[in-house]
């Protein structure tokens, strides 16, 4: 009884947790041992022992709290980073995926590099085994014989070797090596020689059922040799090697390449034993690369290539500028919309605030992959509901109006300017501020009006070209608006929370001092909100800087920009550009190059973030004491 009393629930949780861990580790041991994964086995055992020690020893209590965190830090943060660094320093790409040993094995033993003669290399093959040996003790080499029958009727019979075993200098067969002769002669000769080996052909199909006590292997017994079938090689003097291709057929041909370890080169037997030295992660025969190559450590080659490559450097600045505009616009719009909604719903007089708040979370909660594809459909120029509505209600009215078009445009811009001026003017004593904003706002509205009523639009007559294929301006608008729509609930949530943390006394004090509601917002609420939110703005900027999914699914980077050597689109951001570069390179995927390029993006984002954090710290110094 005292035992249970002495140990609290924590002890039991620890005990059962460790028991479970150790149980799993012990269960893993036989499997790993079988697979000869000794290093993996050792590291798992060491890790498990370490965890056991930490959680059992009373001297390691502080580390106990850190272990789970460290474990997941290593697994989910450090490991991907280390792996990306490692890849960036290699030549990992199409054609350089496998190790050098594997590549040599492919080249010297693989079926892709056989020298094929005019007669078909494919021959019938039969396996014979000593029936007196039980299956369980069958030695696939010593107890197996191979009979190969070519299309010409030649018989080759003997003991195979493992392909990894060295080839004998003078291979010997038990039967039937004959000079090339006519078919009938070969068959007769073969049958005679086989008869000398006590071959018995019971069914008379020309293939003996038993040869010298060895019985033909049935298809049902293929399982007994399946592990070594690929490894069997029968050396046929003057004809190369026979290798099993299926259970009943073999390829009789010579391998084109031999590897010369001393010179680290291949010998090309097809071309007068020419030497193919290893150069730049592959063998090179007569200045032609031989595939497959291998992956190897390359140092900083990928990084210098990115800096030095014209194809990457020229569009880089253009994409970078748009990338910054995109991320900044998205974050500002998300913040404005989120904050405006949070302020609106913060008013206690409003009914059903909980319902509205939950509904507003939908864009954020809905899976982006689906939502963006839906948006793509909504924004379709000819068939999307967005344009249908705009055309039915708004653009149609405009185009049907009897006023001259320029008058409509001027009226719209003027209205916008006045409205914005009035809104900004709510801030007293800041006339220049209001004027500036109304001018900028009017310019933006004017631009939109021009894009809608201007000449290009009338000619196309397909509605606003958001996507598919899109116009450089409207595609950018579409990408920004959709990304804003997807992310504003985040700021809505944050602002809602932060607003509740602002003491209402401050606002009341401002009101008592005679401040207007707008002044209360701009002078009290907003600065206090920003203290908490500014760091999140930077995080959001970094996040949206790499909003690959939105770009990829909505516009796929399009519409294309003409006049550059590398295909890229108006809405491509750095990460989607790098993606295309990696996938659509000259020759398959360039994963190492892409990994290196992500580092450049990381440093760009990190630099922008670091600078911004200095500003937010200043913000905190100013307003944090309030």
């Amino acid at each position: 009884m005292s035992f249970f009393r002495r140990h609290g629930p924590g002890w039991w949780i620890r005990f059962f947790g460790l028991a479970l861990l150790d149980g799993i580790v012990i269960a893993l041991i036989p499997t790993l041992w079988e697979q000869r994964a000794t290093v993996a086995l050792v590291c798992i055992l060491v890790g498990a022992a370490g965890i056991n020690y930490i959680f059992l020893s009373s001297r390691t209590i502080p580390i106990r709290w850190l272990v789970p965190g460290l474990f997941f830090l290593a697994l989910m943060m450090l490991w991907p980073i280390v792996f990306t660094v490692y890849i960036a320093l290699t030549n990992w790409s199409t054609g350089n995926f496998i190790t050098k040993d594997q590549a040599i094995d492919r080249l010297t033993e693989g079926g892709a590099y056989l020298i094929e003669t005019e007669d078909s290399p494919l021959a019938a093959m039969y396996l014979y085994r000593d029936p007196s040996i039980p299956t369980t003790r069958l030695d696939p080499i010593a107890d197996l014989k191979l009979l190969v029958v070519t299309d010409l009727g030649e018989f080759f019979y003997g003991s195979p070797r493992l392909r990894t075993a060295p080839a004998p200098d003078e291979p010997e067969l038990e039967c039937c090596v004959s000079p090339r002769v006519d078919e009938e002669h070969a068959a007769r000769l073969g049958a005679e020689s086989l008869a000398e080996l006590n071959a018995v052909d019971e069914d008379g199909d020309g293939i003996p059922e038993t040869i010298g006590g060895h019985a033909k292997l049935r298809l049902l017994d293929i399982g007994t040799v399946s592990g070594v079938l690929d490894q069997l090689v029968l050396d046929v003097p003057g004809r190369g090697q026979a290798r099993a291709r299926t259970f009943s057929s073999a390829v009789l041909a010579e391998q084109r390449f031999v590897y010369d370890r001393a010179r680290d080169a291949l010998i090309d037997r097809l071309n007068d034993d020419a030497l193919c030295p290893a150069q730049g992660a592959s063998f090179v025969c007569a200045e032609r690369r031989v595939d497959p190559g291998w992956r190897e450590f390359q140092g900083f080659d990928n990084f210098t290539r990115i800096v030095g490559d014209e194809r990457i450097r020229t569009p880089f600045l253009r994409i970078f500028v748009w990338n910054v505009i995109f991320a900044a616009a998205v974050v500002l719009l998300q913040l404005s919309l989120g904050m405006a909604l949070a302020l609106t719903l913060d008013d206690r007089r409003m009914k059903g605030r909980g319902l509205y708040r939950s509904l507003l979370l939908i864009p954020w909660a809905a899976p982006g992959f689906i939502v963006i594809l839906v948006w793509r459909g909504l924004l379709n120029p000819s068939f999307g509901p967005v344009n249908n509505q705009l055309e039915a209600r708004w653009l149609a009215d405009l185009s049907r109006s009897t006023w001259p078009r320029w008058l409509v445009a001027v009226a719209l811009v003027a209205c916008a300017a006045v409205l914005i001026w009035m809104a900004s003017g709510m801030l007293r004593r800041r006339r220049w501020f209001a004027t500036f904003f109304s001018l900028v706002g009017a310019a933006v509205v004017a631009w939109f009006v021009y894009k809608i009523l201007g000449p290009g639009f009338a000619v196309r007559n397909v509605g606003i070209p958001w996507v598919q294929p899109g116009d450089w301006f409207w595609s950018k608008v579409a990408v920004i608006v959709v990304t804003m729509w997807q992310g504003f609930p985040y700021f809505f949530l944050i602002c809602t929370g932060a607003l509740q943390a602002i003491p209402s006394e401050m606002k009341e004090a401002a009101k008592v001092d005679g401040a207007s509601p707008f002044q209360v917002f701009w002078k009290v609420t907003f600065p206090l909100l920003m203290v908490g939110i500014a760091p999140l703005l930077i995080a959001s900027f970094a996040f949206n800087f790499n909003a690959f999914v939105n770009i990829f699914l909505l516009t796929a980077g399009g519409p294309p920009v003409a006049g550059y050597a590398v295909p890229f689109g108006e809405t491509d951001i750095l990460i989607s550009f790098v993606f295309n570069l990696a996938v659509e390179s000259g020759r398959g995927g360039q994963y190492a190059l892409a990994a290196a390029a992500t580092f450049f993006i990381f440093f760009i984002v990190a630099t922008i973030s670091a600078i911004s954090f200095r500003f937010t710290r200043r913000l905190e110094e100013i307003y944090g004491s309030l």
């Binding site: 590291c43 370490g50 990894t164 294309p560 003409a562 020759r587």
Partner: protein, 437 residues
């Protein structure tokens, strides 16, 4: 306190090193061929003749299962073949469902680690990437090559070797709504005349998946003599890019005219296209046999009043040449049971029965000649078969990866009318040449 720090740092270091070692271990040990059966020991057993043990009727015991990767449509058929194979050989076959689009990358990444499937299905245009990565094993058909269409075998050839057993051939064709258009147009002029006649009675006369889709627009490039990489009969020459040849430009100018005259709407993407056609709102649909199951479903549901298929109409008096895609079975070069895998593919998959069943689920023309003849009465097989016989296989060399984006952008440039045909194609050709270097 200092001591704890040392312990902590040491621990992290050790774990890191061990983890790194583990990674290497997984890569090397599993990949090395298991040379377990060294013929050194066990020489004695000849004397112990009588199998005193129960000597189970010589089945399996040691045979590891064969792993097959296939997509959801084909898994049921392959499972049935697998059962047959197991009954005959005693070797179990495990069929795993992997999305068609994932098989390629999974094989490239996992096969060298000894983890890929022994047999997998795929498309012929993967071959280049798979071969240069050393992942796929040649399949020797020997005399059985005569059982298959040459175009299918050529598609699976790379540097003179065949790497797959083809089962289906596909190429785009022309669907028409038989209610609106009873007879197939022979030429593009016929088609446009029909469209003019229909006028506003349909939302979109010719529904074609617009956008940066090089695949569906290839006929405009190739029918008039354009090409992507020159083909010398055995292999493609990546140094000879034919995107900006006179023939290609002529075809693209024709395509440009269709866009300018409003016959093709740039806003119709694949989803819009199928929606229009399935709801009687389009007279023609320009796509491949993969849409057949949905088209039939639309007819059954009554939203589409009737359909028929035909080869693409002639473009500028030339027979239209679409891209031909071939699907087939391939064998993993890193498999430790390649012979068994090839036995499975050549002796159990390459039969008329299985090939016909594969047709029935996918509705793509069989690559196996006898299987094709067995189903050739089907008018859709005839139409798409005819279309494919005029087409060119998609180049299967890895350099093709630089073409999709560049050619797609050229198509987009026509849709946005931001460049004329010659400029758009010159830009694309320059981009491809630049990328290949």
């Amino acid at each position: 306190m200092r001591k704890h720090w040392k312990v902590l740092v040491g621990l992290v270091l050790v774990l890191g090193l061990v983890a790194a070692a583990c990674g290497d271990d997984a890569a090397t040990t599993t990949a090395a061929p298991t040379t377990t059966a060294a013929p050194t020991t066990t020489a004695a057993p000849t004397t112990t003749a009588a199998p005193t043990t129960t000597a189970a009727p010589t089945t399996t015991a040691a045979a590891a299962p064969l792993l097959v990767w296939a997509d959801e449509t084909r898994v049921p058929i392959i499972e049935a073949v697998a059962a047959e194979f197991q009954a005959a050989t005693g070797v179990p076959v495990q069929v795993e469902l992997v999305g068609f689009g994932d098989i390629r990358a999974n094989m490239v990444q996992q096969a060298p680690l000894g983890e890929g499937a022994d047999v997998f299905i795929g498309a012929h245009d993967w071959i280049g990437e798979l071969v240069v990565n050393g992942v796929v094993e040649p399949i020797e058909l020997g005399g059985r090559a005569a059982e298959f269409f040459n175009v299918a075998l050529d598609a699976f050839s790379y540097d003179g070797k065949r790497y797959g057993l083809p089962y289906a051939i596909e190429a785009i064709g022309l669907y028409r709504n038989t209610d609106l258009v009873p007879d197939a147009p022979e030429t593009f002029e016929d088609l446009l005349a029909i469209c003019d006649e229909l006028g506003d009675t349909v939302d979109q006369c010719l529904a074609l998946p617009a956008g940066g889709d090089a695949y569906h627009h290839y006929p405009f490039l190739a029918s008039t003599g354009g090409y992507i990489f020159a083909w010398d009969g055995t292999s493609y020459d990546p140094a000879d890019v034919g995107l900006d040849t006179a023939g290609a430009i002529a075809g693209f100018e024709f395509f440009d005219g269709l866009v300018k005259d409003g016959y093709i709407d740039p806003a119709v993407d694949y989803g819009v296209m199928t929606n229009l056609f399935y709801n009687n709102q389009a007279a023609f649909m320009w796509t491949g046999p993969w849409a057949l199951p949905d088209v039939k479903a639309a007819v059954a549901a009554g939203t589409l009043s009737g359909y028929a298929t035909s080869p693409l109409p002639d473009i500028l008096d030339n027979t239209a040449t679409p891209f031909v895609g071939v699907q087939g079975f391939m064998v993993n070069a890193f498999s430790e049971q390649k012979a068994l895998a090839q036995t499975f593919v050549l002796d159990y998959i390459a039969t008329v029965d299985v090939m016909t069943q594969l047709y029935e689920v996918g509705l793509r023309a069989p690559a196996h000649i006898d299987a094709f003849n067995a189903v050739a009465a089907d008018p859709d097989v005839q139409a798409f078969g005819e279309s494919a016989s005029a087409g060119n296989p998609m180049p299967n060399i890895p350099e093709m990866s630089s073409v999709w984006g560049a050619l797609g952008d050229a198509v987009q440039a026509i849709y946005t009318q931001s460049a004329d045909a010659a400029t758009a194609l010159a830009t694309a050709a320059a981009a491809v040449r630049e990328a290949i270097g």
